[in-house]
Structure formats: C-alpha cells, structure tokens
C-alpha cells in the first residue's frame, strides 16, 4: 500500500471514497508523483470504486497533474467504477475544458452534491 503523501485527505462514506486535495499548488513533480501514487493505490483497495476528487483547495495545477487525473480515470473505468471532480475554482475550469477532460469526467460544484447523487444511485 502506498504511504500517505500528506497531500490528500481520504474519507469513506459507505462505498464512496471522498479524496480532498489538501494542497493549493499541484506543480512540483515530486508532489504530483506522490499524489498520483496514493490515488492509484485506491484502486487496489476498492473494487468498483466510486471516487469523488475534491479540488476546492487547488489554486494552481500543471498539465502533468491533469495527466495523473486521466490515469486515475482510466483505472477507475477499467475497474468498472465511477469518478467525479468537485469544487474546481472558476478560474481553473477552462483548463479542464480546453483539455476536454470535461468530456470524460463529470464536474460538480461541491463534493456533497456528488456524494448524495452516488448514494442515491449505488453501483
């Protein structure tokens, strides 16, 4: 199991995994690698995972981190799970539109909304 990076707060609600990124700058390669390793380890611990990635605290992010989010999405899809991103700041949202990530992953204003929706529709 991956060691906690210290950059993520992971909470479980029934079979829903809420991952809050507790870092405002996702730019440094070591930080991105540590976060990605911890995110990918979730796939080993949860069959058919329902993952909510809360990015409310993120103010800066790089294309490398976008790539890691794609990697997580592919892992979730392969495990026949589902994934959503919540709380993205308005000034960062264009980044996800330009890279067309919004075509792959659903975005919500806040994590609570996703958790309620996932609870209503269990996998």
């Amino acid at each position: 199991m991956a060691q906690p990076s210290g950059h993520l707060i992971i909470q479980n609600y029934d079979r829903i995994v809420l991952v809050s990124i507790a870092k405002d700058r996702l730019l440094d390669p070591p930080v991105i690698t540590a976060i990605s390793t911890e995110l990918m380890s979730l796939l080993d611990r949860h069959a058919k995972p329902s993952i909510v990635l809360d990015m409310a605290q993120v103010a800066y992010l790089s294309s490398a981190m976008v790539g890691k989010i794609i990697a997580l999405y592919k892992g979730v899809a392969a495990a026949k799970g589902r994934m959503a991103i919540a709380g993205v700041r308005a000034d960062l949202m264009p980044l996800f539109k330009i890279t067309q990530i919004d075509k792959l992953i659903r975005f919500y204003p806040d994590a609570q909304q996703v958790i309620m929706e996932y609870k209503r529709k269990p996998l």
Binding site: R25, L27, D28, P29, Y60, S63, A64, G67, P94, I98
Partner: protein, 185 residues
C-alpha cells in the same frame, strides 16, 4: 553511436565549453554574460526593451522561486491581472519544466536562460535551454480523439489557450511566451 549517445556527448561538450568560458572570464576579471545570454536565446527578436535577464541551473527545487520572481515582475508592472495569475503560473511552470527536464535533461550543471521584454502593448518571456530542441511531430495532436486518454502532451495546448502567441526558436530550445499587456485594447 546512438542518438542518445550523440546528445550526451554534445551536452558534455557544451558543459566543458561553458566551464572553460567561465574560468576564462573569471581570470580576465569580467563577464560577457549579457552577450552570451542573447546568443543562447537565438534569433528571438525582443518586442521592445529587454527589462530582465537571468540564468538559473536546471534545478526543479528552484522552479517556485523562478516563477515567483517572473510572475511578480509582470504583476508589479500591471501587465497581468490578479485573476490571470494562475494562468501565468501554469504557462511558466510548463515552459520551465520543459526546459529543465526535457531540454536540459534535469542536469543541474546546465542552465536555463530567461529574458523579459515589453513594447508597451505586449510582454514576452523567452526561456532557453541547452538541449537540441524537439519537433512538433513528437507532440500528440490535441484534436486527435485518440489523444484524449493520453497522460501527457497537453502543456503546449494549455499555454496556447491563454497566451497571445507561443513561438519556438533554435529548433525548440528557446520558447517565447507572449501576451497583450493587461488593460491594452
């Protein structure tokens, strides 16, 4: 000799040349740093006056300090609004990371050179590395549906989305980021 071996040999030669130049300058008691920097930036023609120029070793632990200095300079002159700061930082991060990691292959002995110019209407930031450059053919086509699931290759597209122009010189070893100054119509 493989292509990689040739690149390594070229870089070693560049390091030796740089070190011997520095030794010669130190011995002569003067520096021709400004001239040397402009040579490395290649054929780039600055828009207006060059207001800043500096070199840093390719150390990622310095990246934050570099970005803060450059973003702070543009913000202090009012060329970038606070709302656009996250985009500026993203573009600087992409360009500096590319120069340090891809261009200079993470070798801390190799420097990146940065210059900022402005003509009153648009600012430019030129970032140069010691590498051999790259070809756009090696960058995934962002409009290809097959690229959607790739985990890399989005940096240039992101930079182009916010910048007024993104141009490459010296076969890609110098990148020039440019955008209209905030408030200029």
């Amino acid at each position: 000799m493989t292509r990689r071996q040739v690149q390594t040999t070229t870089k070693r030669r560049a390091i030796r040349t740089l070190e011997s130049k520095r030794a010669a300058e130190a011995e002569a008691g003067h520096s021709s740093g400004r001239f040397r920097l402009m040579m490395r930036l290649g054929d780039w023609q600055p828009a207006g006056e060059v207001l800043f120029r500096r070199s840093w070793p390719s150390r990622l632990d310095l990246k934050q300090e570099i970005m803060d200095e450059l973003a702070g300079l543009l913000a202090a002159r009012g060329w970038v609004t606070p709302e656009d700061r996250s985009w500026l930082v993203l573009c600087l991060d992409e360009a500096i990371t590319n120069a340090m990691l891809h261009g200079n292959e993470g070798d801390p002995r190799l420097e990146i050179d940065v210059a900022i110019a402005c003509d009153g209407r648009k600012w430019q930031i030129a970032i140069s590395d010691r590498g051999d450059g790259f070809t756009m053919a090696s960058v995934p086509d962002p409009d290809d549906p097959d690229s959607l699931l790739l985990e890399h290759g989005r940096g240039i597209r992101l930079m182009r989305a916010w910048l007024g122009s993104l141009t490459y010189w010296r076969r890609g070893a110098t990148v020039v980021l440019s955008r209209r100054c905030a408030g200029v119509t």
